[in-house]
Subunit: 394 residues, 4 copies
């Protein structure tokens, strides 16, 4: 592995998120770059995420008044500079020695939300202390409830403002590019939060049983686990990895306060639809649920997977998201120039989002209605039992 | 910056507009070429403009009579050789020392319309004197009404025949290619028309306010400004940068005499639909307005963004334009061979347009009906409140 | 121009029509290759012709009986080996010193139809004597009726079996690749049939008149000329270059015995739809005309532009053609290996067509019904006044 | 031909089926690779097979219970590890000296089904003895019933559990890449099963008769031959090469127990639709037949052509297949690393399939319903007389 020296200033040819990817390809060891950049399988979903954004168009209005304009918004009672939150990225010391601490500091400097991963390479307590802006903790269910609960309690203690529980990764997806590049976690990068948790005892398999279907999946969480988790914490509970509207509804029924429509950045099930395409269906499900549960606070909808531009944030909001999570670009910026890089990236994206508001004639995120975009016919699938989502359907 | 010597004759391998772009890439300094050729953001709209033209097909009729054939047409009472007008391009001295004077002379030689930009590098008075063919003046609203009015009065005095007010550029779009190439206006190229106008005082921002949303946009014009402008001049008023049919209707209500359906050549909001796709909706809006306002002269519809061939002009007319504006190709031709290059370009495009008339069986621009083209289903979006525009809808 | 030595045997790597194009690119002078291979304008129509064939799929039936199988068919009373006819290609001495004589001899050897061009580089009389298989004469209207009639009379005398009058080329299309390559007809290649015809006197143009619209097009033929031509010959009259169903109907009303649905191989109006896409509409028009004119012999429908495979012939027949014309591939084969090359090409395509019959379960050309193919929705345009042509419409 | 040394271990950069193709390109003589890898004609169908899989998306469900999970299934009374069967591939000694014996041994090791080809390079009896897992015999109709029957009887004797009769290859498709590469069967590779069968006497052709249509096709089987074959054996009879639903129905009427929806891997009729696109129509036909013939065992539907991933197996099952045949990848793995390679390939694909089950929330193949996937509108064609298959049709 080559040694990596992060830059201490931003090269003038870095002017957007994709430029960070280009530079990160040079800055990172090949196997790390491949591990991060790749999607699962044939990367159909990875490409699909980007393609979906490119197919949505923005319909600008001219000469509108801008006398109350602002990109800010509130999520779970906290105020943020824009509808962008840094996604939970595992093992950020792969990118930079300061890892999550640098990223969190940058988010803090920009008043941007930040989600700390269960698989952070710095402990959740240290990350919590990086800046004063509100943070959320991402939770992977552990093999034992005791271990899961230990993580939740630590997050509560450390002052995290919400739990983001990931449900789309019971098993790891097919990561062929990572495999071909021979990626392995280096010894000095570890899951700091899990160091003291005892691993579960191995489960013996009968003949003809499958390691995947009868080994790993036997330990995978189900809806009962989510109900249990809901009963264990008073923090807002956000379920990450929802693609099907029925799963959205089930999560809400069990008490979820928020959903992240996500396909794990194309890293889990290859062939899964772009999360942006599922978003309008999930939004409709959430709205229908809210209408029939007037005493519940309406759930928050976040969108993950494929955001590379401020205009992508705009499109996600027009299709039903309240805010978006920003993943790989933060990792790339971190690897190129540490906290400075992440801060520059976040500022650039915020400015792009503000320019999109200005040029489209929207003063605030709340002004971004469905009518502000053009969605191709058949952009979202027809799902039995869910209402249709055609371009003609306004 | 390398010195640029425009050619004094046209190389034999330049036989169409795209050939000028190819040569201009060599003739221009890299950063200037990048600045001109690029679109905003990921250039989705830039590519979309070209793609839209390629998707429209022409349905030729054979053996028709040609006994009254002509490509000429009238706009606002003036007669032109064809439905092509040179678009308002800023800072043409970037391309050639003679700048707008050379371009205007070429347009004059071909009886082609010409629009002088607020940001011309030669003063509007000098441009007005380049040839006798009628010209229009493009107006950017200035930060003060006094400054705006000063420009309008100078244009009236200099004999311009119409005001083309641009409304789609309150802020500058994201120009990443230009930024990466390090483009900056050279010292010897300036906005000649603005030299004596006092800049507005800086507006102080509160904490948490955005330079874009609360700084620049607070000075941006709104519909009230357009109404004011309408009241200040008797010249035909053309509103440039209309994409949404509702904005078209609003401009007409406020007294606009013409509209330019345009996305600023893909340089303003990336993700904006191709102007050609919006054209049929705007045309319908203009026709409906004319039908309900029989005492007003019917407004003129121009189309901007993506014209590279005489057949593109034909397609734009079939979809509802009265004429088109021609932008980047003129800049390229100017940079390659000065006035001679622009004249050659305009002649080539006019001949292409005439060949398209001849081969399609249309004697005049007025003969180009909607039935002369095939428009793919879903070419134009469905917009709530606007009538649909399907291929089956005749 | 480099000297060209045609091969005397077929290289083993030539196994299909496209292989001849690949070899011809080497065998021909660059400017000649560019002139022949290119389409007009941006070659949208050239590509569209090929694309259309690729979008039609063949639905094979298995285990059918083959006890009366044959690829042969009759056209205007003559029997041919398959539904393929060599198209009228101008100036074949550009490809080979023996020009049309070699091509005609090859067609004769394969019992394949052959059309001699007005612009043949060998006289129509010499071509007529090359082999005994029936041939047709392609006619361009001349500037004077006397000259046109002289050509018709010579064709009748020489024993041609039909007149194919081309109506889609009143002016030459935009041939940029040919222009850039500097193509010009060499001195030793001439339009042999026109040598003794007096050119028309030049037509003076008024000021502001266009050479194209008021010069060339003033001499262009119209429907009256077609009616006159019909009255002058008893030979079957085939009108070549029909794209619009209304023009098909008009030609039939004036007495045409056949139509060639063609866009001149993408060399005339760029942006014209693929002829294959218009074919079903033309076939419907021809059938409707035949139904309402029971005393007329039903007109023959030919298809031109884009045939490169035996399966393309199959697809054209399924969409309504009685037979197809084969253009550029013959020119390429002629340039690579003279008469031998053309014969090899025609045999290869005939075998491909026979294999397609065999594998699809069709015994004869007449067995190829619309149900034998899958046509994408929106493959053909909706034309006002013509019935629709959707995939669902059976 | 270069000598080929199969690997004795799997290189670490082989992690999926496509990696075997990449390595096989190096391992195999060029002409053999071209012969195997290529499709017929312009390879439209070859590409179409892959494209069809990429267009189907999987809609995952989260947090489902996995307490009875298994990838196993039964076919014709035998139990297999997963719904994957090794397809009948001719002449496997082209890939490896041990040929079919190595492939069969690998299938046996993985409890995977295996089909021995009529054109195997090892005798069907030797193949039958390679491992104890159940195998099927693929039958090509021979020119005489006696020869066909001899093969059936030998297969019965050798213990094959089903007859797979291929009906889509009466003539060989157009194999241009194979021709250009000069592929010919080497002397040491032969159709071992046919060595002792007397070839049919040559059939004399009349003048004007075609070798293809009147020679080869006169010997081709028809439905009467299938009825005869059905009457000759009590083994399950599977008809391979069905594309049209009407042919599926006809095969069922004549007593077929199973169907393979296949276009011969794009090697027979180029232009044939992807087998995956026809699958839903065939499944519907089979279900309708089963509903109207309650006393018959419901027929088994297999899918062939284009499987490269475990997720492809999942998609095929969701669209109506009971299991899939796996062709070229086995040949590539055999050529790269013999039995070891095939075993590794089969294990990799089985794990991919299990991961897809796990990530999509399906415990077993039977859980994979139509609702687990998103099928684009117009994915399958409308066929007159068959019910439609739109995405909206649930």
């Amino acid at each position: 592995m080559t040694t990596h020296y992060p830059l201490s200033e931003i090269p003038p040819d870095i002017v957007c998120a994709d430029d960070y990817e280009r530079h990160a390809r040079e800055a990172l060891p090949h196997s790390t770059y491949e591990h991060i950049a790749s999607g699962s399988g044939d990367e159909i979903t990875l490409r699909g995420n980007r393609d979906a954004f490119q197919q949505v168009q923005i319909l600008p209005r001219m000469l509108r008044r801008f006398d109350r304009a602002s990109a800010q918004l509130s999520l779970f009672g906290d105020r943020y500079a824009s509808p962008m939150v840094v996604a939970p990225l595992a093992y950020q010391q792969l990118a930079h020695p300061e890892g999550e601490l640098a990223t969190a500091a940058a988010a803090d400097a920009l008043d941007c939300g930040f989600v700390c991963s269960t698989l952070a390479s710095c402990s959740l307590e240290r990350v919590a202390s990086a800046g004063r802006s509100p943070k959320w903790f991402q939770l992977y269910f552990q093999a034992s409830r005791a271990n899961t609960l230990a993580l939740v309690r630590r997050a509560e203690q450390a002052g995290y403002r919400a739990i983001v529980v990931t449900v789309d990764s019971s098993v790891t997806g097919i990561r062929n590019r990572s495999q071909r590049a021979g990626f392995a976690l280096p010894d000095n990068v570890q899951a700091a939060n899990l160091r003291e948790l005892a691993p579960p005892p191995p489960r013996p398999l009968k003949q003809d049983e499958s390691i995947i279907l009868n080994g790993i999946m036997a330990d995978a969480p189900d809806w009962d686990e989510l109900a249990w988790l809901r009963s264990q914490t008073a923090l807002p509970l956000i379920v990450k990895g929802i693609i099907h509207p029925e799963d959205a509804r089930q999560a809400l029924l069990l008490g979820a306060d928020g959903l992240v429509v996500s396909n794990h950045g194309g890293r889990s099930l290859d062939g899964c639809p772009a999360s942006l395409r599922m978003l309008p269906l999930i939004r409709r499900t959430v709205d229908a649920f809210a209408a029939s549960h007037p005493h519940r606070t309406a759930a928050t909808v976040l969108l993950d997977s494929g955001i590379r531009r401020g205009s992508d944030v705009f499109k996600a909001l027009a299709l039903g998201a309240d805010a978006v999570l920003l993943g790989r670009p933060c990792f790339y910026a971190l690897s190129v120039a540490g906290a400075l890089g992440v801060a520059h990236l976040l500022r650039t994206l915020k400015e792009e989002f503000e320019l999109t508001l200005a040029l489209s004639g929207c003063q605030t995120p709340a002004d971004i209605s469905r009518d502000a975009v053009i969605i191709p016919r058949d952009f979202s699938p027809d799902i039995p039992g869910c209402e249709t989502n055609h371009a003609t359907d306004h």
